[in-house]
């Protein structure tokens, strides 16, 4: 079965549903932007919403939901790269811990 045939049975209805969900989540991000909270709280809330949005887009718009092996490959690889960047950069520790820049 080709890739095209695999998706033939799925309707546009599901796509529209996911699109509306993502649109609502994007709207929530704009609402969070006007909340009277600290920048770090705002950052965390917006990031959580963005991750949910991205997950919906990956799973349904990009059809990762239908390919279990690829789904785990993409997830593990991407998370490993992002965590590597978060914890692997020496200067990121310098900034987060308030240490002076190396001269």
């Amino acid at each position: 079965m080709t890739t095209a045939e695999e998706h033939k049975s799925n309707g546009v209805g599901k796509d529209v549903g996911v699109y509306i969900c993502i649109l609502v989540l994007a709207g929530i991000q704009f609402v969070i932007a006007y909340q009277d909270i600290s920048a770090s709280q705002m950052f965390v809330r917006m990031l959580i919403v963005a991750i949910v949005e991205a997950a919906l887009a990956l799973l349904f718009f990009m059809h990762l939901w239908e390919n279990r092996g690829l789904k785990w490959f993409v997830l593990i690889f991407t998370v490993a790269v992002i965590l590597g960047m978060q914890y692997g950069w020496t200067d990121s520790f310098r900034i987060s811990e308030g240490v002076q820049w190396a001269k």
Binding site: H7, I32, I82
Partner: protein, 205 residues
Amino acid sequence: MSQADVTMGAHSALMEEPAFRVPAKKMAMWLFIIADSATFAGCLVAYGFIRNATPNWPRPFHSITNVALMTFILLTSSLTMLIGVRSAQKGDKSGAFRWTMITALAGILFAGLHLREWMGMIGEGATLFTNPWGTPLFSSLFFSITGLHLLHVTGGVVALIAVGLRYQGGRYNADDLEITGLYWHFVDLVWMFVVPLVYLLNLAH
């Protein structure tokens, strides 16, 4: 059994199943997307650390109208891309071409709004190395991150038009359209992180 059959059998035994049962072209696009997501993640993580480490970070955005409109257009273009791919998979060639071109048009509209916003900021004195609202790092990061995204949108528009025309001409099939769609959805996905981090966190209160 003929010699030809024996040879064919040996060849098919040597042929491996594609990784994750994904066609090679689609797998190549996924690998590109993973690599590109690392590029954007690098930019956004660096932006986050620099923003946190810089005292008196400017919050120059007074209105969300333009960015909200840009977000709406890009999200909607993902839906039109999906409809185009679905049409192609059903064999509706003209429908698939039409929806792909609508997607490309949405991309052009997004790029136009983005450039208009850039021109407004440049008009106020913000450039890659200068920032009238405070640290020049803000302008450098803003133009670099949104510029990288805009470059991806522009590339996507060119790809959509090229693949759409070749699909219409019968040289490409629905799978090729779907692979181009994957790229377009990725561009949309990146924007979901650029908007809160680069725009909404820098909204003036």
